[in-house]
């Protein structure tokens, strides 16, 4: 049975919202929870002691906790924060930059995060030899490419796939939220706190295209593989990542569980997630196409045949 993981919160939510959110997650059927600020070092409503407090609470409620590290490390203070996480001593760490791998390799078992660009067997084997116990597939990788990679996967290494949520597509040193407000990044006034699911960027004909989340750019569409669970299982995927959105995350986790345990059909689950998602869904990457495409999933194909 595939495990369900809650990815790190990619947005800047008020402190109380974050604590309430993890209270819901603690009560949910998620198996694994990734915690921490991975996008912007200026965000400060929660500090490491707060994340560790949440980690302790979730761990006591039976969740496996992993502390995630920042993807774009630019300064000495970013590295200091990284060192504190790497050396926390209690919880596993997700490395989202090679700088984190440098601190963890050979010392502490770690999760090789989705931004490490693991695209082939050789790189995957190397990561395992450095101490990776799990790796997260790059979001743009297709099912067929993963199948190839899984054939020679090192023993004991788990594979995780980003299965639900707005796709984290790019990082910049520029803050696009500050740019929208005509503010310099150094005086951003933390206005991204007003965008619990990011700020939608539309094309000039009004089509939702991307989402601004500080220095991160996401897809406007919600990547959703709930209709593709058979092919994920067939590819030997052990963990599915559900990326938090501001509403319905616990319900989405429950739906994934219900489909995995065959209490709900994939077709119905697709319809229900579509109602809960902040935008239309897509699954193009998994099917080898452009990420924004929505391909026929197994469930729909079955329905069509029937």
């Amino acid at each position: 049975m595939m495990k369900l993981a809650v990815g790190p919160i990619l947005y800047y939510w008020p402190r109380d919202t974050v604590f309430e959110f993890y209270e819901q997650i603690a009560a949910s059927c998620a198996d694994i929870v990734y915690l921490g600020e991975t996008v912007c070092s200026r965000r400060h409503l929660l500090r490491l002691p707060d994340w560790l407090e949440l980690a302790g609470m979730l761990s006591a409620r039976g969740k496996q906790v992993v502390l995630s590290t920042q993807a774009l490390l630019e300064s000495e203070s970013d590295l200091k924060a990284l060192r504190r996480i790497a050396g926390n001593g209690d919880f596993a760490v997700e490395a989202n930059d090679m700088g984190a791998v440098n601190l963890l390799a050979g010392r502490v078992p770690f999760v090789a995060g989705p931004f490490l660009n693991i695209y082939n067997q050789q790189t995957l084997a190397l990561m395992a030899s450095l101490g990776a116990q799990r790796w997260v597939m790059p979001v743009e990788m297709a099912r067929t490419a993963l199948l190839n990679l899984q054939q020679t996967r090192p023993a004991g290494l788990e594979t995780e796939v980003f299965a639900y949520g707005r796709l984290p597509l790019a990082f910049s040193s520029r803050c696009f939220t500050a740019r929208f407000h005509n503010l310099p990044k150094d005086d951003c006034r933390f206005l991204c706190v007003d965008d619990p699911d990011g700020k939608t960027m539309r094309t000039r004909e009004g089509k939702p295209f991307l989402v601004i989340n500080g220095i991160q750019t996401q897809s406007a569409l919600v990547h959703n593989l709930i209709g593709d669970l058979p092919s994920l299982a067939e590819a030997g995927v052990e963990v599915l990542r559900i990326s938090p959105q501001s509403a319905h995350t616990a319900a989405v986790i429950q739906l994934f569980r219900d489909v995995l345990e065959q209490r709900v059909t994939a077709e119905l689950a697709l319809q229900q997630t579509q109602r809960m998602a902040p935008a239309e869904c897509c699954n193009g990457y998994w099917h080898g196409g452009a990420g924004m495409e929505q391909h026929f999933s197994a469930a729909e194909a079955c329905a069509a045949v029937a």
Partner: protein, 337 residues
Amino acid sequence: MQPEYKLELVCPAGSLPALKAAVDNGADCVYMGFRDDTNARNFTGLNFDLTNARSGVEYAHARGAQVLLALNTYPHSQGWERWKRAIDNAADTGMDAIILADLGLMQYAMKTHPQLHLHLSVQGSASNYEAINFYHEHFGVRRAVLPRVLSFAQVEELAKGTKVELELFGFGGLCVMAEGRCALSSYVTGESPNNCGVCSPPKAVRWQQTAQGMESRLNGVLIDRYADNENAGYPTLCKGRFEVEGATYYAMEEPTSLNTLELLPELMRIKVRGLKIEGRQRSPAYVAQVTRVWRAAIDQCKRNPQSFAVSPAWSAELGKLAEGQQQTLGAYNRPWK
């Protein structure tokens, strides 16, 4: 004794004529790619087959210039043999170094061709010294090309934490995103720099004159629309105009080029080893002009860094060549962020 410090001018060669133009105009190094998806400028009609690569190496070496091979995409398992062969060919043709991003390839190169120098590509996204030192300790990487995300103060701070030589982008196209961490292009077209060596690929581009103006689309997505009095630019997707909460503007970046000419004395002060000019997709004439200006500037700065001033003639010449005729210091200048 410490070898004398030298800032090397590293110029793009998308073809043999461009390579010759770079060498003839004063490049210390040229970088090239093979004619396939093993490099991040995988465009039709561009790059080198083995015969041309050999001629290029011969031409450059005869004139004291080095040749670097850009092998900066990430191979999938199915394509592994093609990338491996490219490394073997680089060694075989006598190239001076290969520019890599993928860990697996670095390991192969180090084991199979220990004499080949390894440079970390900008696609490796190493924006801090812990990352750079990782590549050095595990693969003996000698030089790292920094992503265009750091302010100059951050570059200076980073330099103190590593023995690895640093190479910085000095002029040409400006990636707004951390290189190697951007999947915007594959989100829209299925092809990205990491997996196919292209961004906003030409085959996905459509132009259409409409009642509202000239429209540029990428796989059907409207990237920009131009009024009759505006110059229509190539629809690189992060440089289009989009609408955010009622405001239509360049939400990510204007069509603009990076130009760090005025930073030269500072770059030399902190002993940056490579100054990279972007543009393997550009013409030999472009390469010649840009190389000439930068050669003159570096030489002048070396002679007298205290009194270095950007000559108006250089600025005028580079200004004509810049994308959208606009230039920026990018992230090196903190307010850009």
